[in-house]
Amino acid sequence: MSTGGFRSKVDFVVRIGGEAGEGVVSAGELFAQAAARTEYHVFSYPTYPAEIKGGFSMIQIRIRDWTVYSMGSRVDYLIVFNQQAYDRTIQDLREGGTLIYDPEEVKVPAEIAAKKVPIPLDAIAVRVSGSKLGKNVVALGVLGYVFDMGSAVLDKLIRDRYGLKGSAVVDKNLQALAAGYEAAKTAGIESGVHLGTRSEEKVRYMMLSGNEAVALGAIAAGCRFVAGYPITPATPIFETLAKLMPMVGGRAVQMEDEIASASAIVGASFCGEKVISPTSGPGLQLMGEQLNLASMLELPVVVVNVQRGGPSTGLPTKTEQSDLKFAIYGSAGEAPRAILAPTGVEDSFYQTIRAFNIAERFQMPVILLTDQSIGYRKATVRIPAIDKIKFIDQSVLSEKIVIPDPEHVEIASRIEATEEDLREYKRYKITSDGVSPTVRPGTPGGQHLATGLEHTEEGQADYSPINHVRMTQKRFKKLEMLSAALEKNPPEYHGSPEAKIGIIGWGSTEGAIREARYLAEEKGIKLRHLHPRLLSPLPENRIRHFLVGLKQVIMVEENYTGQFAHFIKGKFGIKPVEIHKYEGVPITPEEILRGIEKVARVVDEENLTRL
C-alpha cells in the first residue's frame, strides 16, 4: 500500500527534559536548527511551565527524510537532566530506545529496557565552564556526536547563537560543546544517522515556529499595522512583528490591554490599513467588544488567537482547542465573522494570508485560531516563491480568489469606491453580494459616519424594524457569499473513496490524524480524513459530500466538550465517535490510531449503517 512517502529511512524522535531555566529548550532548538541545515526535515515542539525558572520543561525534536506531520508518538533518544524529567517522560521512550542521563541527578532502575548511557552533564559543565549553566551545551555536544554532525556545523551554531555576547562566552560554550562531544565518544553511543551534510535543495527552506509563520504571513499579505498586548502563547507573534514591521516600513504599537489593541486596529482599519492583533483566549474575550464593532462597521480586521488551556488563566503554556465556540459566537447580538484554523507551521503562513483576503474582501473580522502546539512548534518550511505572489485586481470577484498554497498566493484588498460611487456615497450600500465599496479618509466626498448603532445605507442611525431587517440581511449576505465561494473549491479531504470510516479534525491535530491514517492503512483499515480550515461559515455541501457512504465518523478534538463535533452533529445529524484529549499536550498518532482500531472493529462486526 502506498502511504505517500510516509515510511522513511530516517525518522526519529529526540527529547530533552529538565528543569526550566536549565537551557533545555535552547539546547533542543540549537540541535533542531543544526538538523534543519542538513538535508532532513525537522519538527520541534517545546513545552514550558508558566514560571520563568523551576518546573518541568522539555523539547521534542523529530527528524525525517520526508515532511514531518507531527511530533511523533515514541521517543528514540531521551536526554534527562534530573529525576523529575526522568519520571515524567520515561514512559514515552521506545522499547530499546536510548536513555542519556546524568547519573548524579537521576536514578535509573535496572529493569528499564533501554540503552542506558550515563553522562555526568553537570560535572562536565562545572569542569569546563565553572558552572552548571553550560550543561545544555554539553548535551548539545553529546547529540552532535551521536548524530555525527561534525564540529564545523556545531561550532557555527554556537557562534551564531552566542556571538553577540562576546568571545569569552563563545569560548566557554565551545569548550562545553567539545567536552560533551568527547563524553559521548567515550561512552560509545552512535545512531548510525549522519546529519552533517547540507543538500542544495534545502536552501529554499526556513526553520519557523507557527507564531513566526503567522507574522511573516501578515507581512506577505500587506499588513503594515499591528497593535498588541503580551499574552502567552501568542507573544512571539507580536514580538516578531514588532521587529519586522519597521523593517518593512510598517508600524507596531504596544497598547495597554487587549481592548485598546483591538480598538487601535479598528481605528487603523477605518483609515484603510490592513491590520492584525495577536492574542490568546483571555485576550480574545477582551477584544470581543471591538470585534463586535468591526462586524457592525464592516471593517476588515484580523485577530489571531493562539489557544491555550482554559478556562480563565488556565494553562497558559499548554495547548487546547477550546475557544472555537467563543470565537464564532462571542459577541453581543449577531455579528458575522469568519474563523480560520491553520493545521501547522507552513499552513499558518498561508491561512494568515487567506485571513486577510477574507477580511478585506468581505469587510468583517476574521479570527485565525491556532494553538500553543502550532505556535511553539518549529518546522522546516519551504520558502514561498515570491514571483508566484499575485496582487489581485479589484475587478476579480471575491469567490475567484484562490486559497493560498505554496504554488499560488493571491493577495486581495478591499473594494474601493469609484468616482461614480462617491457622487452620492453610501458606505453601507446594499449590493448583490452584501459588500459595499469602501473609501479611505482623505478622499474628498467620501466623508461618512460609521456608527455602532444600527444604520442606514448612508450610515445614519436608524432603529426602524425594516431597516434592521435589511441591514442584518446585508451583513449576513457576506457570510453566505463566503460560504458559497468555498463550495467551489476542491474538497479538503484525503484518503480512500471506498472508506467506511471517516475522521474529522480541525487545526493542529491534522498531522497526528494524517499519520494515524497512514498507520491504519498499513493495517488494512481504509479511512477518509476531512480537515476544514474555514470553520465558520462551513462549506456544508462539501462536508455532505465527504460524509456520503461512511458508516462511522470519528471526531478528534483537544477539548472536553467536543465543540466542533457539536456543530457537525447539529448540522448533519450524525453521531460521531468523539476522541477528546484535554491534557494540555498534543494528541499523538498512536492515541488516534487506538480509536480508529476500536471503531474499525465495531464497523466490521456490526456492519453499522448510518447516514
Partner: protein
C-alpha cells in the same frame, strides 16, 4: 474652493435636548475646523457612547461612533497609520473618566497627536441620570438615591500627572473661548485634552446659572510649561480657571514610529524598506 462653515456640518440634525450644552460644543468644533481651514475629508472624528458621543454624527468628517470608552485607543490606531490626518476624539465624563479612563495615561505616554474633547456634565445623561465619576459627593442621582458616597475625580490634575502634553479647561457656555482653545489643541503637536464643562438640562448637576459665575480665565502670565503651577491652578475650585494649564513639546507617536523605521532600515540599502525575500532569508 474656499470652504464655508456649512461644509463642516453633516446632513444629520442634532437630537440633543433643548438647551443642551453639546450644541455649543458642536458649534465650537465646527468653527475651529473651519477657521483652521482643515479640509473636512482630512478629519477623522472618533466618539464614544453617551450624549456627547453623538457629536460624530453631526460633523461632515470621516466619523466613527464606536464603543463606550474607546474613542482614545481607536483614535490612536487611526493617527498611527495616517499622520497627515487631523484626528479628534470626543467623549463624556462617563466615557472618558469612567469606562475609558484607563486609556488616557497610555495615549499620553505615546503623545499621540490627537485632540481629545472630554465633555463633562457630571452625570450619565443618555442612560437618564446616574452618578458619574465627577458627580459631586452627596448629590442624589438614580444610582445614588441617598447621595453620592464616592469622592469626585479631579480630572485636570490627573491629566497633568499623566503628563498629557496639552491640558486645557473650557466651558460650553463660552463658545468663543472654547473655539480658541480647541484650535490651540488641534494646532498643538502631540496629545491635547480639552476638558469641557457643560450643563445637562434634563438631569441638572451643573446648572447654567451657576456656571455663569463659576469660571475665570487663567491669568495672562500663567506659565504653561510649569507643571507644578498648573497643578496648583487646577486645584483651585473657586473660581474654576479656564484656558491652557499646561503645554510642552515632545516627540509625537508618529515621530517615534518614524524613528523606529529609520533605525530598523538604517543599515539597509540607503534606508529602503526590506523586501519579503530578505525577511525569509533571516529565518533560514
Amino acid at each position: 474652493m474656499k470652504k464655508t462653515l456649512q461644509d463642516y456640518k453633516s446632513v444629520i440634525t442634532p437630537i440633543w435636548c433643548p438647551g443642551c450644552g453639546d450644541y455649543g460644543i458642536l458649534n465650537a468644533i465646527e468653527k475651529a475646523l473651519f477657521e483652521l481651514e482643515i479640509p473636512p475629508e482630512n478629519i477623522v472624528s472618533v466618539s464614544g457612547i453617551g450624549c456627547s458621543g453623538r457629536l460624530a454624527h453631526f460633523l461632515n468628517t470621516y466619523s466613527l461612533h464606536g464603543t463606550h470608552g474607546r474613542a482614545v485607543p481607536i483614535a490612536v490606531g487611526a493617527k498611527a497609520v495616517r499622520p497627515e490626518l487631523t484626528v479628534l476624539a470626543v467623549g463624556g465624563d462617563g466615557d472618558g473618566l469612567g469606562i475609558g479612563g484607563g486609556h488616557i495615561p497610555h495615549a499620553a505616554r505615546k503623545n499621540v497627536d490627537i485632540t481629545y474633547l472630554l465633555v463633562d456634565n457630571r452625570i450619565y445623561g443618555l442612560t437618564k441620570g446616574q452618578a458619574s465619576p465627577t458627580t459631586p459627593l452627596g448629590e442624589r442621582t438614580k444610582t445614588s438615591p441617598l447621595g453620592v458616597y464616592e469622592d469626585t475625580l479631579a480630572a485636570i490634575p490627573m491629566f497633568l500627572a499623566y503628563d498629557v502634553s496639552f491640558v486645557a479647561r473650557a466651558s460650553s457656555i463660552k463658545v468663543k473661548e472654547l473655539t480658541d482653545i480647541i484650535k490651540a489643541g488641534i494646532t498643538h503637536k502631540g496629545m491635547s485634552i480639552v476638558y469641557i464643562l457643560t450643563p445637562c438640562k434634563t438631569f441638572p448637576v451643573l446648572e447654567i446659572d451657576e456656571m455663569k459665575s463659576m469660571f475665570k480665565p487663567l491669568p495672562e502670565d500663567h506659565p504653561r510649561d510649569n507643571k507644578l503651577k498648573a497643578m496648583e491652578m487646577a486645584y483651585v475650585s473657586n473660581p474654576l480657571y479656564t484656558g491652557i494649564f499646561y503645554q510642552v513639546q515632545k516627540p509625537t507617536l508618529n515621530d517615534r514610529l518614524d524613528h523606529e523605521i529609520e533605525k530598523a532600515t538604517a543599515k539597509h540599502d540607503g534606508g529602503k524598506p526590506y523586501v519579503l525575500e530578505e525577511l525569509f532569508k533571516r529565518f533560514s
